[in-house]
């Protein structure tokens, strides 16, 4: 299992040289720290999926002594591992550039990342290879596009809900949000496993 997670690094050895300038670019551009965390986290796991959309890769992985459930588990666990690594690296970079960020940024960034993973990973197994990169790209743009207006729409029109959220104490808000993210993530994991189990190579 660990070996499956580690393979992403071996495959992407060369791309990792782009990774650091990529993060630095966002930092220098003065992007929101939360957004930088999100983008940095996405880099490795989604790049890996770019490789895995090839049918050959699935044939290889499934011919090796792995179970299909393990292959999916490595994706979901790997995403978390690489998210933690990316957040660490980004934090160091932010420090180095004297940019301030709060714990909230980290939490929002990672929360959004996990949601994004939960929504897109099952799609990888539904869509035909070749379309996947496009699907991810479009859904990512849509997500970042829609997220802002939706939030402002909600805050403008449904003051009741906002007040409800505002009335919650910060810890319980975090707890609730974490719980929701975990549930969605686990659900997505389950769905991906079911889809992958039935896949034909």
């Amino acid at each position: 299992m660990f070996n499956l997670i580690r393979r992403d690094i071996i495959i992407q050895k060369n791309q990792l040289f782009i990774f650091i300038p990529f993060i630095l670019f966002f930092i220098i551009m003065g992007a929101q720290p939360a957004f930088t965390f999100l983008v940095a986290s996405i880099f490795i796991p989604f790049n890996a999926f770019g490789y895995d959309e090839k049918a050959e890769t699935n044939i290889l992985l499934n011919s090796l002594p792995y179970k299909r459930t393990e292959i999916i588990a490595s994706r979901y666990l790997g995403a978390i591992v690489y998210m933690l690594l990316s957040i660490g690296l980004t934090s160091v970079a932010l420090f180095a550039f004297n940019k301030t960020f709060t714990m909230t940024d980290v939490v929002i960034g990672s929360g959004l990342f996990l949601l994004f993973v939960a929504l897109t990973f099952p799609l990888f197994h539904i869509f035909k290879p070749g379309y996947i990169t496009t699907v991810v790209l479009i859904s990512f743009i849509l997500l970042s596009w829609i997220a802002g207006p939706v939030v402002s729409f909600i805050s403008n029109h449904l003051t009741g809900i906002t007040e409800f959220f505002a009335s919650l104490s910060t810890p319980s808000l975090y707890m609730g949000a974490t719980l929701i993210v975990i549930i969605i993530y686990a659900l997505s994991w389950g769905i991906s496993t079911v889809i992958y189990e039935r896949k034909v190579f």
Binding site: I11, N14, E56, F201
Partner: protein, 288 residues
């Protein structure tokens, strides 16, 4: 354990193509060649053996185990070579080994390096710069380095030059020396099999036509040539398929003794090559 692979009444349906009730047994310690035209169902059958595809009906057993409960144990004991490169194209052999090796409990690094040396494979060049033959050698080096008991190969010789094909066949014979290994490989180049296959399984349009020892194949099947006027509705039954020409007929029989009884010395009988057999079966079966 006499049969390493057992397909019992296996069926799989696709749009416009299906595998129908295949019963196939692969004997331990021998080379089984799997022949059939392109699109006959060879790759589909191999994919079911590898659990890349699950049959709609029937049982697939390897080493007497089934995939539901023993997937990892089974795959630990298989070495696979596919007709196209399944390894990450941009990587070199060293990195591919780094990814594949930890998957196997019995990976043998010394053995791997022996094969790399023997096949003269560069460790630091990306695999997409390899020729077709080198890619095959690389797959083979990986397939052979974890003490696999069963080597499954899907069209390993397709696209290779004759010299390399010979080399490969020699290598496979070397692997058979210890008597515990089993090789199953599909091909549509039947001359590869004339030399080294012990058993032949022949698939056509998703159905297994036969699976028997190479001796039985040469004893049962023959090309028969004779004068057209020898043919009538009864005598024709002895043949799988008949080609007629103004100068005479040429036919394939699957029952040489019957043909000898019916025609005696009035016809010429020749050994049928695997290619002859495939060609005549393509023409359709007249009797069942």
């Amino acid at each position: 354990m006499e049969n390493v692979v057992e397909l019992i009444n296996v069926s799989k349906k696709f749009k416009g193509f299906s595998i129908k009730n295949i019963d196939l047994h692969v004997k331990q310690g021998f080379v089984t060649g799997f022949i059939g035209a392109n699109g006959a169902g060879k790759s589909t059958t191999i994919k079911m053996m590898m659990n890349l595809l699950r049959p709609d009906a029937g049982e697939v057993k390897l080493f007497g185990l089934d995939y539901q409960t023993n997937e990892k144990d089974i795959k630990e004991r298989i070495g696979f070579v596919y007709d196209s490169n399944v390894f990450f194209e941009g990587l070199n052999l060293k990195d591919i080994k780094r990814i594949v090796a930890p998957a196997y409990r019995r990976w043998d690094d010394t053995l791997f390096h022996q094969y790399v040396e023997k096949f003269e494979l560069p460790l630091n060049k990306s695999i997409k710069t390899f020729s077709k033959g080198m890619q095959m050698k690389a797959s083979l080096a990986i397939a052979l380095s974890h003490h696999a008991e069963l080597i499954i190969m899907d069209e390993p010789t397709a696209g290779l030059d004759p010299i390399f094909r010979r080399e490969l066949l020699g290598l496979l014979q070397e692997l058979m020396l210890d008597g515990t290994r089993t090789i199953f490989f599909s091909t549509h180049i039947t001359t590869d099999l004339d030399r080294i296959a012990d058993y032949i399984a022949f698939i056509q349009r998703g159905e297994l036509v036969f699976s028997k020892s190479i001796h039985d194949v040469t004893e049962d099947y023959a090309l028969v040539k004779g004068r057209i006027d020898l043919l009538d509705r009864d005598t024709e039954k002895a043949f799988v398929h008949v080609h007629r020409a103004p100068t005479g007929f040429e036919a394939l029989t699957d029952n040489t003794t019957e043909v000898k009884e019916i025609f005696g010395d009035t016809v010429v009988m020749e050994r049928a090559s695997l290619e002859d057999i495939m060609y005549y079966f393509k023409g359709g079966i007249h009797h069942v």
